[in-house]
Every structure is written in structure tokens, then in C-alpha cells.
Subunit: 337 residues, 2 copies
Amino acid sequence: MAEKQLGSASFALARPVTVLGWGNIVGKKEGEGPLGGLFDQISQDSYFGEQTWEKAESAMQRQAVSAALERSGQPASALTALFGGDLMNQCIATSYAARSLNVPLFGLYGACSTMAESMALAALLIDGGFADFAGAVASSHFCTAERQYRTPLEYGGQRTPNAQWTATACGAVVLAREGSGPYISHVTVGKVVDRAIKDPNNMGAAMAPAAYDTISTHLSDTGRSAGFYDLIVTGDLGKLGSRVLKELFRQDGMELNNHNDCGLMLFDLQRQDVHCGGSGCGCSAAVLTALLLEQVKQGKLHNILFCATGALHSPTALGQGESIPGICHAVAITDTP
Amino acid sequence: MAEKQLGSASFALARPVTVLGWGNIVGKKEGEGPLGGLFDQISQDSYFGEQTWEKAESAMQRQAVSAALERSGQPASALTALFGGDLMNQCIATSYAARSLNVPLFGLYGACSTMAESMALAALLIDGGFADFAGAVASSHFCTAERQYRTPLEYGGQRTPNAQWTATACGAVVLAREGSGPYISHVTVGKVVDRAIKDPNNMGAAMAPAAYDTISTHLSDTGRSAGFYDLIVTGDLGKLGSRVLKELFRQDGMELNNHNDCGLMLFDLQRQDVHCGGSGCGCSAAVLTALLLEQVKQGKLHNILFCATGALHSPTALGQGESIPGICHAVAITDTP
């Protein structure tokens, strides 16, 4: 087995990689949620000053990356590579953002697991000795996702009780070989897990088995107990998916008491009419970069396992009778190197 | 600068990574081309035994990965991770293929640059000390691409003279820390380059500047001359894009005499009515795994630079007046460690 490999799908970095800077930008509704005071930027305009929602999402990526670079004290030219992705067909938010950032790009598609996937690869690039600095970014936009995956907004479609609300949000990080933390110490790569859920309005249930698989694998590979972490945070299972995840662990005789979900943290489910909670690549990216990294930096959290979960279906696949495969990548973040 | 970093966007592996196994599968038209005798499998059925073309493309990925694993002598469980992507919305060929392969997945979106992107990341994972074996796969299917990017096949749309033909093809490799080559020695990561081409029927011209940028960067970063390589092979610029690429180098006072393009190698342009040549992620993946790796293995080629080029647009972006950004990732392959 390779020297930094642990168990079946995890890696222990030889030397923890620092999260040197982070940045985010969200839409109006996200700004009205419980984390409203913590974001770098909240736009009241769903177009973010652009002509279309798709161009708006690219603008969000540029701004989140710029904010992360600014916090890191590094110019864009310091980034050896940017790892990024989004939900749009052909990941155009990312490609058009990277065009103007002028940084070498590794384009990713991991649906809502993208923030963990991008951070994992950026950390591996640095720990492998290939880079001093690398970036990671993920975004989503309610309006681009809704018309692509569901119906035009003008249609005014009724949302089902189990639906989640795609966040208009983007988060970015700058990782570095040197720095004072927070640190990424471990990475667990997810497998595609499919428990035959076919309802695109119930993606929490579709993704929960993937989260269960990756978290279990991580604990088994690292020899850690769930209690090692102050917080095991998924993104974004929502209310129903979180319940399924806990039930899956309960069947193993384990109570997952230190779990929360970015989809439940971004919005106030009582007040904001988002049904089962937030979703979208940008949801976990924004919660991580607005709240969690700050809490680790301030020592309020010592060890967290950031587990971003993606639903890897497409409208075409579902129309052909396919079920929804899920994936979850996990990144362990700590305040001590 | 990190120890394995060269110049602005290239990496020199500490110890060349072996391409241990490779496999491919193509459709009928590709099988009738000049490389017809070299493919592992040629299917006369555009559905590859499945119910839909999308499911067919997933089946192609499973079969190409299986063929690569078989040639490598390793089971799927030996792969620490699979890096893969395709052209379909939400990359469903890859996700559904990875579901049944049951291997940790890093999903990528690099359009037709995917084979080089996936091999680059798999090589970095191994050289970074994270894996002994990793896989890379990329696919395309004429029928899934045509109806997604252009018009339903039943429409019988006329093709313009500069159009390329999306290959129904898939290639996969198994990379390993140990082995007798061919070896990957260097990687150059591409930037997004956009010279304002807006014609989706002329993607060769849209991608040629990205290929020029990455090849120039590679030569500058490594201090190599173009003549170091027996072959600098792009995929897939086609006839027009290849001419543009040579012209761009000519403006630097350099004749790129050792250049060929996978889109020109897969089909016989005189005989097969593919206009400017082949395209699609699977085109370069299939040419690499059917012809080029074998030629390096047999010592007929000593050093090649495999430069897969992608056009990162979407029909939505073009409909909003955007131009077509290109990207090109390069992997240096050699017969001596």
C-alpha cells in the first residue's frame, strides 16, 4: 500500500495542508438565513450585476475566489491550479470564471460533493509536492439549477414536502503548504452508492447512503471513533436525509450525536419555506467558508469531518428509468497540525 | 516553488508512473477507420446492448476499464481511485459506470481534454504517495452528443464543412507505481483560453489557441524543444484546428513538424465523411489506448506529448452570446524511466 494511504479509500497527509484563505458570496434569501451576518458578500440582485443567471454564477465564483485570495494574502498567480465545479451542464460557471481568473484549471463534476472533492484534490496536490498554493471552488444558483433540473421559474411549479432549496451560494478556499491552520489532515474518497431512490424531489434520501458509506469508511480507515470529531457535517442531506443517515448509523449501534448538515444550517427551516433545507454545491461551500473554518480558526471547533454529498443523476437519466446515485467525499479539518 | 513543480504550470514526477494497462471500445464507424484493426472491441450496435445511447456510453466505460484492468493484471479493487468524465450533462456516463465498478471516483469535467486531465491527476495521486494503482477513463458517443449539443438525429441536420464528428469511443488506462512502462514523466495543466470563436461547428479553431498555450508552456517549463518529442499529438483539433495550431507556432518561428491530431488519425477524412475529423473525449482516449501506448511500448515511439483539448462551452452559454473557451492538458509519455 502507498505510504500515505489508509485502509480502502482514505489518505493521511504527510504534513497537514493549511487552509490559508476562504471566501464566499450568497444571494438574498441565504443572507436572510441564520448565517446572514457571516458572509463576505450578500447580493440583493439575483443576477449579481450580470445579464443572465448563468453569467451571475460565474461572477459569484470569481468573487468568492478573489475573497479567498485576499484573505490568504496571495495573488491569483500564486495558485498552481484551481479545482472547481458547479451543477450546470458542462460546468459553465466554473469554466467561464476560470477564463478570467487566468489560473490552470482542473474542472470537476461531483454535483453537490464538489467542495469536498475540490479541497481533497487541492490538498493532495500540495502534499504530493506539486504546489505551494492551490484553490478550490464550488457554486450553485437557485435559478440556474431550477430551470435546468426542474421547470422554468415562470411555471411556478409546486414544491413537494421532501424537496430541498438549491442555494444561491459560492465558497472558495486557498490551500497552502505553510500556514497556521486550519489544517486538512485526511481525505476519504467516495464511491458511487445507489439505493434505488428515483424521486428527484427527495435527494436527501438518495444521498444519505453515500454519506453513511464514506463516513463509515473514513472511521474504519483512520481507526477513529465518530466521537473524535466535534462535528461531522454533511452537505446537503437536508432534514429527511439527515434522519436517514442517523438511522443507518443506529442500525450499526451508533448514535451520531455530533452530526449537523449544511442544508439545515444555511436556512431557518421554520421561517424560510425551504421544505427539507438547502442544497446545491454552493450550500456546503458557503457554510464551510462562512462559519466552520472560522470556528476552527478560533478554536471553537477542534476537529471536523466535512462530508459533501452529491446526487449524480441527470433529468435524462431519470427519464430513462434510472435511479439516483449518490457520492460523498470527506475532508478532515483540524486546528492542530 | 514546490519540489516537483516546473515553471508556471508543469510538474516533473519524482519517479515516472507506469501505464500498466489500457483498454478501449469503439463504434462501427470508428472500427471502419484506419485504426480498425487495433481496438479491443468494435460494436456494430450503437446501443452496445443497452436500451438507450446514454446507457450505452456507460457500458462502454465499464468495458474499457475492464479491458485496461485485464491488461494490467489487476482487479478493480486494486484501484485506489478512478478519475473519469464524459461530455454528457452531469457526466452520467461516468457516474453510472462507476456505480457498478464500485471504485472510489473523482468525477471530472474537462470536455474533450478529459483523458489527459484524468491521466494527469491519476499520475499525481500515485507520485504523491497516495496510491499504488489508479484508473483514468473518458468516453463520448456520437448519438448522445449530437442530440445534446446540436439537434435530434431524426432531424437530419446538415453538417457544416468545419464540423467534426463526435467519436463513439472510450479509452481507459490503469496507472501504477511499479512497472516496465510506458511511463508518464511530466504533466502540464491547462488554462482556459478564449479567442472569441462563437461557432460551435468550428471547435478546432476554438481549441487550437489552448493547445498552443499549453504546448508552449510545457516546452518553456521543461526546457525542452518541440523536437524532443517524436510526436506531439493533440486531441481533437481536426483538420482546421491543426492548421491553426501550426500557424500559431509558425508565428513564433517554429515549424511543428512532429504534430498529429487524434481527430485526424481515428477516421479517414477522404473516405468517411467526417468533414474536419473526429472529436469527443473518447477520440483521443481511443487513439491513445489503441495506437500510441502500443507504439511506445514497442519502442516505435520514444517520447510523446499527449495534449487533449476541450471546448468548455454549453448550448446555453452560446445562446447567451458567449464565445467558446478552450482548455488543453498535456501528459508526457516516454519509453524510458
